[in-house]
Symmetry: C2
Subunit: 184 residues, 2 copies
Amino acid sequence: MTMTPQIEAFVYHFGEMGSRWGFNRTVGQMYALIVLSEHPLCANDLSEALNISRGNVSMGLKELQSWRLLQEKRVPGDRKEYFTAAGSIWDMAIRVLEERRRREVDPTLSLLRDTLLEKPSNEQEVYAQEKMQEIHDLLELCGGWADELLTMPPNKLKTLMKLGSGMGKVLEFTDKLTLRSPDI
Amino acid sequence: MTMTPQIEAFVYHFGEMGSRWGFNRTVGQMYALIVLSEHPLCANDLSEALNISRGNVSMGLKELQSWRLLQEKRVPGDRKEYFTAAGSIWDMAIRVLEERRRREVDPTLSLLRDTLLEKPSNEQEVYAQEKMQEIHDLLELCGGWADELLTMPPNKLKTLMKLGSGMGKVLEFTDKLTLRSPDI
DNA sequence: CAATAATTTCTGAAAATACAGAACCTGCTG
DNA sequence: CAGCAGGTTCTGTATTTTCAGAAATTATTG
């Protein structure tokens, strides 16, 4: 289990980026290596290839599993656990986005909902609540939309994205249509 | 400059979330307070309201400015600088997304592009490059799409999002149309 | 061109996080 | 049930990040 310079470069880069994506350097490296490996890897492989302590690898695998990013593979006659990336690259992206939403957006939404139920008790709070309402609506709208998109079959989603600037036009077009028939 | 419990709760929450959004606790608190305040705030206001050292406030303001999230306000006859949130909540969201893309996605894309120009030097790299290609394509597609969306006028974007599950249908519909006329 | 108000940069302490390595489980195998 | 492979949890150290407060810098006004 030794990495070529190319693979190494990507693995390290992903480690650095990892922190931005919500997990730490070593977890990022571990995941990158697993994704790039055709064959399932076990904890020892990771520990050796990345020079990471065995205990740390165990924690990292736990973390990646909590993101639902790993698929466990059992090799008959071998008592080690092996791992590959769960699903396609698309699946991976979707999982990460879902998880980040759960961690970053949902708690805020919930707090906002609670706060907005309370009566503003002075001038200052009237304005503040207006802003909170705006934030709430934005998050809710985006969240709902994201749900729609992420539950679409990937193919369809891809088509949609490729539509690109066409989308603006489609939108105008459907606008016109809905003038006549509100239920496209 | 004293916060009501409601406002305080949101400010602190946003501080905690802040770290997930790419800046630290105090920067998050500062921004939340600025957004919720009807009137522009100066460094001292922030320092006092949040119990943050004056120097730290200065750093934080720099950080927020690097995200293009602040609008500077000058009050005639007062030499202090005052700040409000730059633009609407939508503008804020767009700025944050753009900036995160710049910081999180672009460097990876650039590395991938470079790597994919090289010839795979063995079996292992052939597979790894396939995966990298997939990641590259996904990031590029999403990035391009995000560009489209984020440069759309907010109203249009809002309409699009509200379209919700309708979108799947629109898609099928345009599919049929393009069979006859490829340039919608 | 002082005097001083406002801001920025620097410095080191404190807090949080990441991590190696040891100690500890758990369950298989002979 | 001893021995051991594999995995997890714990403990202390190293690293990184955050931040207050001091020092330095820049602007503003009489």
